[in-house]
Symmetry: C2
Subunit: 335 residues, 2 copies
């Protein structure tokens, strides 16, 4: 065991997974946690529930396309949606640094409220802590949430099936590149902005047309590359994707090249990946495209039972390369 926590333990990539696997799972050992899905599905009385939590530490707290407030609401809404549930209730836990601007706090809270309204969820409980100046950086927000699983949904990272098509709901890397350019003080003519958005409406539309959606995941920290590896590992399936089918906006691709980032590993906050049976893939794709946040959706690959636990990409020039989980940490405090 190493001596101290490193930044890449929070990357969402390989180091994060090892930390959870080595330290957390053995301590709390239970089948729900062990599934390592974006949220848990539990039963209270006769009622199945989805339950999820996420803390937000993004820096800067305001950025093109959103702020830490709507990011925190959309993030937990999406984690519940990825369980195949309709998000209903949220909690908010604020940790605020002494001296933080009241005006900015007010703006963050208004953004949270607008995002909650937009996603049709109700914030019902909360907590506020203030720590002395220097003990935290401005504001951190935890949101947790409860959702009601759709009756026809049995969705988990463990459920990918051979032959499933992989749907990606739109262009990748928008959020991560936006945050990084803000933080580095880079200025570009191209208007790029975070894709933070609630995906619960999209999921509802998808599940209305198919009961063969097997996996739903939002590729946040660690990006599409890491999320596909998680699915491959959880389901013990192989995944193949096609580089030329993955949408990346030209401005974002250019910035990634300039900054030395692989867009496959850059965080998204308003995109989902789905594994759907081949026979339902086109109708589910059409449902995704009907949603305002899914207009650029496409099928980027498929699931197979060869090479379990591995992800391959057919490159633009026809080669084939292994897509591993993110190693190291490119972008601390990206969400």
């Amino acid at each position: 065991m190493k001596d101290t926590i490193l930044l890449d333990d929070g990357s969402g990539g390989k180091a994060s997974h090892n930390l959870i696997k080595d330290l957390v799972l053995p301590a709390f050992d239970n089948p729900v946690l062990n599934r390592l899905d974006d949220g848990a599905v539990v039963t209270v009385g006769e009622q199945r529930l989805a339950f999820s939590t996420d803390s937000y530490v993004v820096d800067p707290i305001f950025f093109p396309g959103g702020c830490i407030g709507d990011l925190a609401v959309n993030g937990t809404v999406n984690d519940l949606a990825m369980c195949g549930a309709r998000p209903l209730f949220l909690s908010a836990g604020l940790i605020i640094e002494e001296g933080f601007s009241m005006q900015e706090l007010s703006d963050v809270i208004k953004n949270m409220a607008a995002a909650a309204k937009n996603a049709d969820v109700t914030l019902v409980t909360g907590d506020t802590k203030v720590v002395p100046k220097g003990a935290a950086d401005k504001i951190f927000i935890n949101t947790s949430g409860i959702g009601q699983p759709f009756a026809n949904a049995d969705i988990s990272g463990t459920n990918a099936q051979p032959g499933d098509k992989i749907i990606l709901s739109g262009s990748i890397a928008d959020h991560g590149v936006t945050i990084l350019t803000q933080r580095e003080g880079l200025r570009f003519d191209a208007a790029i902005q975070s894709d933070t958005a609630p995906l619960n409406g999209m999921v509802e539309q998808m599940l209305a047309v198919s009961d063969e959606v097997h996996v739903l995941r939002d590729p946040t920290r660690g990006g599409v590359g890491t999320t596909l590896n998680e699915i491959a590992l959880q389901s013990q399936m192989g995944i193949k994707i096609y580089e030329d089918m993955i949408p990346v906006k030209a401005a974002v691709a250019g910035l990634c090249e300039l900054l030395g980032l692989d867009p496959l590993y850059v965080a998204n906050e308003g995109k989902l990946l789905a594994c759907v049976s081949a026979r339902h893939a086109e109708s589910v794709l059409a449902a995704v495209r009907e949603n305002p946040f899914g207009q650029d959706a496409c099928i980027i690959g498929e699931v197979a039972d060869a090479f379990p636990g591995q992800v391959f990409m057919q490159t633009r020039i026809g080669g084939r390369r292994i897509v591993d989980m993110l190693t190291g940490e490119q972008l601390p405090r990206i969400c």
Copy 2:
């Protein structure tokens, strides 16, 4: 509106209440949040649920009687219990500072797991963020939880009735004084320690003997004085307490005098206040005392409809003084 957040905005006292009232409630305006209970009671399908959240930022993270890990588990267990619910599932959101000791993280997680087992709750979902050195202080933990309300319970800070007796489950100020002496590096012969404990078993025993428990609250930040004010305000009742009936350990009382603290405003982490009908008060008190964490419980006062929203204390020397909410912040990062 003032320009910046001050420490006492997180005290749990008057400034915290104003912040919530002025900034948060108007933004999220809904009847569940507006009740300002320790948690929310909501309905999913046909199932009523209790839902609560709290973030823990205590400094130091290890202290006599516990650490931030068991504090975080017990705290949310207790908030659910105070809704009249049986706590079932917890989430954990960790924000860790780069460079934090792996050994300490491991100890914190083991303490969380032991506390969860002890309280008979299951941790089913979590999230870990790592922020660069200096952006947070060691570790902050958010826990959220789901509980199942007891069928005979209609418990809220709004439900105090004239004539209700006020039960306090044991001695006050142990947690706050422990943290403060640790932080100041004070050393005493007297063994004082945090009272952090799960109170769900106690609540279950209370509700087994009475359906006339009207209010349950754990007097954490802001202490017994502030919590009684919250109940008085929420229920629009007057509350009278008797100073000589409130148990304070001799060592704790001595330290409070030395440090200039009023134990009425010092945080507790394993105590509850209950408003119970007069005819059931003795049997509920007996149930509390049967619990290992309630052996020093006693009746400390009563509810009346005179002076709504106010709390009075009959002092030891026979005088009468108003007990206001905590103003200012004595003890930042107490929990």
